[in-house]
Each structure stands twice: as C-alpha cells, then as structure tokens.
C-alpha cells in the first residue's frame, strides 16, 4: 500500500483545478455574461500504477477534468503537477515534451479515428509527431503495437471502416500506447461496445497495465465496470469532488448521500439483489453549472439537506472510523446501515390519480 504522503508515489497531482467556460453575448462587441463552471476547484492525486475511477452523471465535469489533467486546454486556475513537473502554466510548445507521458483513449471508436486514413498511419502518428521513428522503423513499431493490442499486423493498410467496434477501440489503444506513456486517461472506453466486446477490451487494458506499468484514470458511468477495474474511485457532482475512497470502501460504505444514490441506482446483473434492495431515487435533474446552488451543490436533490448545507460548503475530509484515504465532502455523511428516503411513494400516488381521472 503506497503511503499517500510520499511524493514519489504520486504521478499526477491536481490542486484546486478550476475550469470555467465563458458565455458571451452580443453581435459585434461580445461581452461575457456568465460562465459554465464545469470544474470548480478539484484537488486530486493519481498514484503510480493505480487505476483511478472517475464517476458521476452527465454534465458533472468528469470529461472536462480529464482534459484539464492532460492540459488539453488552459486552466482557469489551479496547479497541476505531473511526474514532478509543474504543468499548470506551460504554453503549447512547452507542453509538447510532457505529452509523451500522457495519452487518452476516447469513448467513440467511430468518431475518434479518421475514416480516410489507414490504420497504420493513424497508430504511427504519435511516432511521427514526436520524431521517434520514420519509414521502415516506424512501420515495424506500429506492427508491434498492433500485435500487442491483439490486431493482426497484416491489417496495417486497412481503413478503420473495415474493423468492428471492438477492433477499432483496440486501434485507439494502440495509438495511445505508441509513445510508452506513463498515464492514460480512458474516457468511457467501453460504453459504446457490446457487452461481450466490452469485457475483451477491459481485459486488454488490464493486461497492458501489468505489462507496461501504466497508470489509468478511468472515466465511466457504468459503476460495475468502474468497480471491476479501479483501485480507487472519485465521485464528482456538478464540478466538485464529493467523495474519494479505495474501491472497497466506496462500494461497501459510501458516505456521501450522492454516492449512495448513485450506487443504489446502478443496476446489477443479479435478479435477487436487483429487486430486493431499496433504491434511493433522486428527484429532478442536475442543476445548471452556470448558476450552481450555494453551499453544498447537491443540497437541492439531497434527502438529508439541512439549513447548514445552503450556507456553508463542505470540504473533503475523512470521517471518524473511516480509513484516512476515504474522504467525503458532506456535513451530514451517511452512517453505516442508515437508510435514505425514497421517492417511490410519490410516483404511486401520481399513478392512482391518473387512473381515477383519465377517461377510458
């Protein structure tokens, strides 16, 4: 177990990362009228060789955070350290040498590969851009990569359209591996694939991690997949980190009401468990990140919200009895065995009303 205090174990450290996207109005003289607070003060560390799962609903900022970590756009504020180097204020050209150490695998294996280019040249791109190998040598390296990810190297000259979804995702993996990176950010790498193909790609990612000593940040909305691949899991809600813990702590004793709701909402492929448990069903949708609620951002949907939640923003801290690595940003964390209120009764009520009133 790595000691979180030892800096050499930490590959990437993010301190108070903020990313706001401006909203502009006006035709000739654009002025800023507000901003989408996509990521609003997130601190996080990723340790060498681990898989950090990142979960949350659509629009909670997980993909934006991933792109911040890779410095794919400038940060609004915050500090980002990768492998001992401060990346937060580097320009594009200054960033280039560090890009070799960090790569990304995208969700959509159809949209992330140029359909008019041959697979060999797609995978060889990173090698060309970083002047690592040319000509026959590049071809040799690309074919070795194709072999590693389970593609037939003879298919070097084919187009992406000639491959199935799972094979295309392998092409994406090969491209990410080309520069022997230390960190790979996987943004929903399997959610576009069929179940049986998903498992093939997950196994591949696990094998490569062992073989090349990779560190993953794994974004997914399927909590079962995240539980399977991750060592630690971070839960985001509306631009904030609400809970971070070792995978078993998070799944066994979730402390934040949002984590509880998310876990209870995820479907499990077991008919007994799926039907027996109490679901905490959150009402409504995620509030707008343009005008997030004051205090705790989850309070508008939280079954435990009190007056304090509206005035004071909770900080990430470890609860009594929890392991120090298990931190929660909540004033009233959920205790062991505590039950949160469900919304089911209101639904049934509405159904009865419908049946009484609707003409047949």
């Amino acid at each position: 177990m790595p000691d979180p205090a030892r800096d050499s174990d930490v590959l990437l450290r993010a301190d108070g990362i903020v990313k706001h996207f401006p909203i502009k109005e006006g035709i000739f003289f654009k002025h800023q009228v507000g901003s989408v607070k996509a990521v609003d003060g997130v601190s996080l560390e990723v340790r060498r060789g681990e898989t950090l799962g990142l979960v949350g609903e659509t629009g909670c900022g997980k993909s934006t955070l991933a792109r911040c970590i890779l410095r794919l756009f400038p940060l609004t504020s915050g500090r980002l350290t990768f492998d001992g180097a401060d990346l937060s204020r580097l320009s594009r050209s200054q960033m280039r040498p560090y890009r070799r150490g960090m790569q990304m695998i995208f969700q959509d294996p159809y949209g992330s590969l140029n359909p008019r280019r041959r697979v060999g040249s797609i995978i060889g791109d990173p090698l060309a851009i970083h002047h690592i190998a040319q000509g026959a040598e590049r071809r040799k390296q690309v074919q070795a990569l194709m072999e590693v990810v389970g593609l037939n190297p003879e298919h070097y000259n084919r187009f992406p359209a000639e491959f199935s979804g799972g094979q295309r995702q392998r092409i994406g993996v090969a491209r990410a591996l080309a520069l022997r990176p230390k960190l790979i950010v996987c943004d929903e790498p399997v959610s576009a694939l069929d179940v049986s193909i998903q498992a093939q790609v997950i196994n591949l990612l696990e094998d490569l991690q062992g073989e090349f000593g990779l560190t993953y940040v794994f974004i997914a909305h399927d909590l079962a997949v995240v539980q399977h691949v991750s060592d630690r899991v971070a839960v985001m809600y509306l631009g904030k980190m609400v809970e971070v813990a070792e995978v078993k702590d998070l799944y066994n004793t979730p402390r934040h009401p949002y984590t509880n709701a998310l876990l209870s909402a995820s479907v499990v492929a077991d008919p007994d468990k799926a039907r027996s448990r109490d679901r905490i069903i959150l009402s409504g949708d995620v509030p707008s990140p343009i005008n997030p609620p004051s205090g705790c951002r989850f309070r508008t949907r939280c079954p435990k919200a009190q007056a304090l939640c509206a005035t004071e923003e909770p900080m990430l801290k470890s609860g009594a009895g929890d392991s120090p690595s298990h931190v929660t940003a909540c004033h009233f964390p959920v205790a062991d065995g505590e039950k949160l209120a469900s919304e089911k009764d209101t639904i049934l009520h509405a159904v009865e009303g419908f049946l009484a009133e609707a003409p047949t």
Binding site: E147, V148, G150, S196, A199, A224, D270, I281, D285, V351
Partner: protein, 362 residues
C-alpha cells in the same frame, strides 16, 4: 393469459450484397401483465422482430405469425394496423430526440396520438396530456406541454415518450433500449416508473436491451437472442443462476458484477457476432463457443426443454442437465490461463485476441 404469441417468425432483407437473415424462426409469447426481457448483442434481431410486429419493416420478407389476442398482425392491412399501433401496442424507442418531432411542442405531439384514436376535443386532449406528464413525474406539466423537445433533458424527453406510449393505455408496451442513452440515476427513475405504471395499468411489456442489469431488475421472463434465433428462454432467476446455453453464460461472464468475485478476470466471448448474410453452418454460435462439438457445425439445434426451471428452454446440443454458471467458468478460466501463457511467450500474431480466443474457447 397469452397476449402475444409469435410463431416461427422469419424476417429477411434482400440487399445488393445478399439476403440479410435478421430473424430466423423465432417463437415466443408474452402473457398479459408480464414483462419479457429480450437480450442480445447488436444485430441479434431483437429490434427487427419488434418492429416487424408493428408492421414497421417495409421491404422485408416476412413469414410466420404474430398473434395479438388471436388476431394475426403480420397479414393485417395498413389501416387495421394503424388502429393497433399506439392503442394496443405502443413502443418506446432508444433515442427520444430523433423520435420526437423537433418542430412541434411536446404537448401537441402527445395530443395528436390521443386525437388520432379517439374523438375528443383539442382542449380535452390537452388536459389529458397534462395529466400524463404529471404521471411520468415531469415537474410543472402545465408549462412543459408548451416546450419543444430540444428544451428538455434526455431523461425528460424519454418521459415524454413514455407519456405518449401510455396515452392510450396499451395492452402491450415494447420498450427498445429505453434507458441506454441515459445516466444511471435517470435510468433507475425511469425503470422504476415503468414497473410501477405497469403494475397499476396492468399492461404487458417487452423490454429489449443489451444491459443484463436492466433485465435482472425488471424482467419476469428472459429471451436470449443470437444471430436472429432464440438461444435460451427462462424466468429471470433460472437464467441468471442456472443458464444452459454457452452464449448466455458468456454474456454473464462478460459483466463485472455477475462473475461473482470482484477483481477476478472477466471472461469475454471471443470474436464478434457473425454476418447475417453469411451465417455459420449448424448452430450460429459454434465459431465462438467453448463447447462446440462436431454436431454443432452440422446441425442447427432447436429450443428444447431444460429441467433446471419451469418452461426453461435452450437451443444447444449440450446435455440438458449441464446448467449453471460455475462449471463453465472454472473450466474456461483454467483453459484461459494455460493457453494465454503459451501464446504470450510464443509471440504469435495477434497475441491478445488469439490468446483470449483460443484460451476461453479452446
């Protein structure tokens, strides 16, 4: 009581490349008030069979029969079918944005469905719409009837689709991947809503999905489809705990939580689903099957009774008593481990794929 009985349904599409045989001799039935889950990979014929029943597959060659309350759907005229669609069989599609017309207000679109089937005034129809939107838990329904589809979130749009489907209180609701495009929390809200509505209204449901978690939480009976045929059919518990068909076991082995021990390796099915134009001989699953025998290549198995559960049937040549996830998993795991090491050291072409393939299904 049997509401819908599909018998020996065959659907094929003539194309320039050859005949796509999307559904091949599919039979199943749905009882009123029950939920049938249909699972399978992309291209297994799940959606095509549902669309065929509603006459929504123009250009397809269709044989067999599909009877709703003893009325044959497949030979019905368009006019007759129009009376059935919406009123007796309603459908919810995967992508609510492309199923709603972007130019019309959602309230108007739901009211249109009501007015097409019953002679009510515009005003009466609209007040029904408000009630329906309230029923599917849309906040401030009086205001939302005026909204255009793009003004609503994905979950809200799908609620509108559900409201539209329920507007005429159908006897059968077909939901084709109703929650696939949505977040887990919204998915839970909607599944809960569908199940509650079903119990109250007493309709039957067919839920088409590739998500075994959805099946586990709502289905009474499950039909597993592969390459246009039924691979296995059983009640939900039997299917998850005593599966017979190797494809069902493969699906269960591919899902993280169902493999049992968290952290153990997943056991995917090797390879990819076959082309529906050039189908394998015999059992369509044999090229990917770990248990394939000589006869699987030669002869196509039909659904036979399996003693593991009531009405449990499986189309596989394996002995009927060979059920359960465990046995298959252990053998597969051992084979996997041994072959994988071999393939790694030998550095054969396509190491991983070959290893995964040869291994699990040597």
């Amino acid at each position: 009581m049997t509401l819908l009985a599909v018998d020996n349904l065959t659907v094929s599409f003539p194309t320039a490349d050859g005949v796509v045989r999307a559904v091949r001799g599919l039979s199943f039935s749905v009882d009123s008030g029950k939920t049938l889950g249909v699972v399978g990979e992309s291209g297994s014929g799940k959606s095509v069979s549902a669309l065929t029943m509603l006459g929504l597959n123009p250009g397809a060659d269709i044989t067999g029969s599909a009877r709703l309350n003893d009325r044959e759907l497949l030979t019905m005229s368009d006019q007759e079918l129009r009376k059935i669609r919406g009123a007796e069989i309603a459908m919810i599609f995967q992508d609510p944005l492309s199923s709603l017309h972007p130019h019309f207000r959602v309230g108007w679109q739901i009211a249109e469905a009501i007015r097409a089937h019953s002679s009510v005034s515009k005003r009466a129809a609209m007040s029904q719409v408000v009630e329906l939107l309230r029923l599917v838990n849309i906040p401030q329904p009086e205001r939302r009837v005026e909204a255009y589809p793009h003004e609503l979130s994905g979950g809200m749009r799908q609620r509108v689709m559900i409201a539209m489907a329920l507007a005429l209180k159908p006897k059968l609701l077909i939901a084709d991947e109703p929650t696939t495009a949505l977040d887990a929390t919204v998915q839970a809200q909607l599944m809960e809503l569908l199940v509650d509505l079903q119990h109250e209204v007493g309709m039957a449901m067919i839920i088409i999905t590739h998500d075994l978690g959805v099946i586990a939480s709502v289905a009474d009976e499950v039909l597993v489809m592969y390459a246009g045929r039924a691979a296995e059919r059983a009640d939900a518990r039997t299917l998850f705990f005593m599966p017979h068909h190797p494809y069902t076991r493969g699906l269960l082995g591919s899902v993280p939580s169902a493999t049992g021990v968290v952290g153990s390796r997943l056991l995917p099915i090797v390879g990819t689903p076959p082309s529906l134009i050039r189908l394998p001989s015999g059992c369509g699953f044999h090229p990917r099957c770990p248990f394939a025998m000589e006869m699987c290549i030669d002869e196509q198995p039909n659904l036979e009774l399996i003693p593991a559960g009531p009405n449990h049937t499986s189309a596989c040549w394996l002995p009927p008593d060979m059920t359960g996830v465990g046995i298959a998993m252990d053998t597969a795991r051992q084979r996997y481990a041994s072959t994988r090491r071999g393939a790694r050291s030998a550095k054969l072409p396509g190491v991983v794929a070959a290893a995964e393939g040869a291994a699990v299904y040597a």
